[in-house]
């Protein structure tokens, strides 16, 4: 790899096609370490597909994708990428419904992931404290013993974010975190994500423009698999092309 750079995430000319349909069309994007970045765009623009490429779920037909300027994401599988410190919240909340909130969080907690060690490990008391703090941070202390399947849609989103935090990733990919949340919950989520920036690099996909504005970060606009505008919230909301394809509708 001749490309050397300091970007936390660097993607260049990534193309993905499904049966000839280009979900990503020569997409390029670069994130600084510790940056918070919002990604917006109409349905089907390729936002989730971009996350699929970063996490190793989908292989692009061409392009370059590097993590921390060192790791070639296109050569690694999902588990290796996850263990390099890439955490992901899915668009559709996916928590383990038959486990309790605590058990879900324990599962996410960083540590040896091999089958043999999983038979023997127990979380130390410091780690238990950390787990409970994180649980409080995502507002689920009351429900810690509850089965995750019994949580509301918004609570599941929170739980998944909590799990993401305990994974201690360097790069967080958060797909539509505010879906199903009330306005106050949405704003709390925005605050939480903002507080993560600096120590983590965070990519947030969201349709809710108030939420995106509240993030006060750089915004990339995706359309038909490519970035059509990038800049502050004010800048992209004033862009005539963005208004035409997305905001204006």
């Amino acid at each position: 790899m001749t490309l050397e750079n300091k970007n936390a995430l660097y993607m260049e000319s990534i193309s993905v096609s499904f049966d000839g349909f280009k979900a990503l069309n020569s997409l390029s994007i670069a994130l600084d370490s510790g940056e918070l970045r919002a990604i917006i765009g109409p349905n089907g623009a390729g936002k989730s597909t971009m996350m699929d490429v970063v996490t190793g779920k989908t292989r692009p037909s061409s392009g370059v994708a590097l993590l921390s300027g060192r790791y070639d994401l296109l050569k690694l599988d999902e588990v290796k990428i996850a263990n390099l410190g890439v955490g992901r919240k899915f668009q559709k909340p996916s928590v383990i419904e038959s486990l309790t909130v605590r058990e879900n969080l324990e599962l996410a907690f960083v540590g040896n992931r091999s089958p043999l060690s999983s038979l023997l490990v127990k979380l130390s008391s410091e780690n238990q404290d950390e787990l409970e703090n994180t649980c409080a941070r995502v507002g689920l202390s009351e429900s810690i013993k509850q089965s995750a399947g019994d949580l509301s849609h918004g609570q599941k989103q929170w739980l998944e974010i909590g799990m993401l935090l305990l994974q201690k990733p360097t790069l967080l990919l958060v797909d539509e975190p505010a879906a199903g949340m009330t306005d106050t919950e949405t704003m709390r989520t925005a605050d939480l994500l903002k507080s993560l920036a600096g120590r983590h690099t965070v990519v947030v996909v969201e349709h809710d423009m108030d939420f995106v504005e509240a993030l006060e970060c750089r915004v990339s606009v995706l359309h038909e698999g490519t970035v059509i505008a990038e800049g502050s919230h004010a800048h992209v909301s004033g862009d005539s092309h963005v208004i035409e394809v997305y905001l204006g509708r």
Binding site: T55, S94, E97, S114, Q146, M163
Partner: protein, 368 residues
């Protein structure tokens, strides 16, 4: 609450084992309460099936791998034991050959095939009981799980696996006794195999194995390992993106389960007195699935209960209405899936809930 039923199941098996130990082994003469060979064999058989059900529940109930070929691992364990028992016959066979089992003499073979060597040693046979099913499960799982074969496709290839093995074992040239299989056993570890005390000991051994596996599997499922399995069952992608190597976990539990099934088969064969290729029949593997479904998938003791209940029914039906058994089995499966999706365990839990409504409101979980 699940804990309660699990302990009751365990207590029940312990009582049966103790009863037989006291009345058949310790004081066979004094009380006259000992069970006769028929019942000893019957109970021993149910206990082996309960272990087999436990093995399937560990992969299906906890990890979502619906194996329709678990009968194959059971049969392979049984064949390994059968080979040991054949070699124990020595020169007491019909043809009196000191080395070769009767069926080989009958086929005009002059030498013992290489894969029969070592089976005269009990320790070697015991090793093979574990290794053969374990290795088959390992290679099968290695390829299947790495290439992410799952769901119906996996079920179909497990079914094909047991079918292929059945066809192979039917062939005389394979060297496992063809369609007659292995039988006419004389003794095991020097004890006459049909003596009542041997029967009782084998039944007790099966009971102890069931107790051990019940305790072991429920412990394993309560560790983080068990949680990862549930995560894989409920949402494979989530487990993967949390950094768990899904295929390793699947392989681990699949191999463990196959060896359990093999041990069950090895305990079964000396009690029944025969192992033949019919044990590989695809239908056998499907029956195991029915036991687990009827008992209640994903609760371990429920699977064991299911195995016993369905086989009690089978013993009755095949005696009273031999032709109706398959129809009964089919209807049982359909009806239990529709009317009691959580099996006997579900009924037990609901009735307890009904009796003690204030308790365990928050424990509405689909897992232990």
């Amino acid at each position: 609450m699940d804990q309660l039923f699990r302990k009751l199941t365990l207590a029940f098996v312990i009582v049966v084992v103790l009863y037989v130990f006291i009345n058949n082994i310790l004081f066979p003469e004094s009380f006259g309460l000992g069970l006769d060979s028929y019942y000893l064999t019957l109970i021993g058989k149910y206990l082996c099936f309960a272990i087999l059900a436990l093995a399937l529940d560990a992969v299906w109930g906890y990890c979502g791998i619906l194996s329709l070929g678990h009968g194959a691992f059971f049969a392979l364990g049984g064949y390994a034991m059968g080979m040991y028992l054949m070699r124990q016959i020595g020169d007491r066979g019909v043809y009196g050959d000191p080395l070769l089992p009767d069926f080989m003499v009958f086929l005009n073979w002059t030498e013992l095939p290489w894969f029969w060597t070592g089976f005269d040693q009990p320790w070697f046979a015991a090793l093979m009981v574990i290794m053969v099913p374990g290795l088959l499960a390992f290679f099968f799982g290695w390829f299947a799980f790495r290439s992410r074969v799952s769901g119906v496709y996996l079920s179909i290839i497990t079914q094909a696996l047991t079918y292929a093995l059945m066809l192979a074992f039917f062939r005389n040239e394979m060297g496992f006794g063809g369609n007659n299989g292995l039988t006419d056993f004389k003794d095991i570890l020097g004890y006459p195999i049909s003596a009542e005390s041997t029967r009782a000991s084998l039944m007790i051994l099966s009971g102890l194995a069931l107790i051990f596996f019940l305790i072991f599997t429920s412990w394993a499922m309560r560790t983080k390992f068990g949680r990862v399995l549930l995560a894989i069952r409920d949402s494979e992608d989530r487990a993967r993106f949390l950094g768990y190597r899904v295929e390793s976990y699947k392989l681990f539990i699949f191999v463990l389960s196959a060896t359990m099934a093999g041990i069950a088969g090895a305990l079964y064969v000396p009690q029944i007195g025969i192992i033949n290729p019919g044990e590989f029949s695809p239908l056998n593997s499907i029956e195991i699935v029915v036991w687990v479904a009827v008992g209640g998938r994903g609760s371990l003791y429920g699977a064991a209960l299911g195995a016993v209940v369905v086989n009690l029914a089978k013993t009755y039906f095949t005696g009273a209405y031999p032709d109706a058994w398959l129809y009964f089995l089919g209807s049982l499966f359909v009806l239990s899936t529709i009317f009691m999706p959580r099996g006997i365990v579900g009924i037990l839990q609901d009735s307890l809930h009904w009796l003690l409504p204030q308790k365990s409101r928050y424990r509405r979980k689909s897992s232990p």
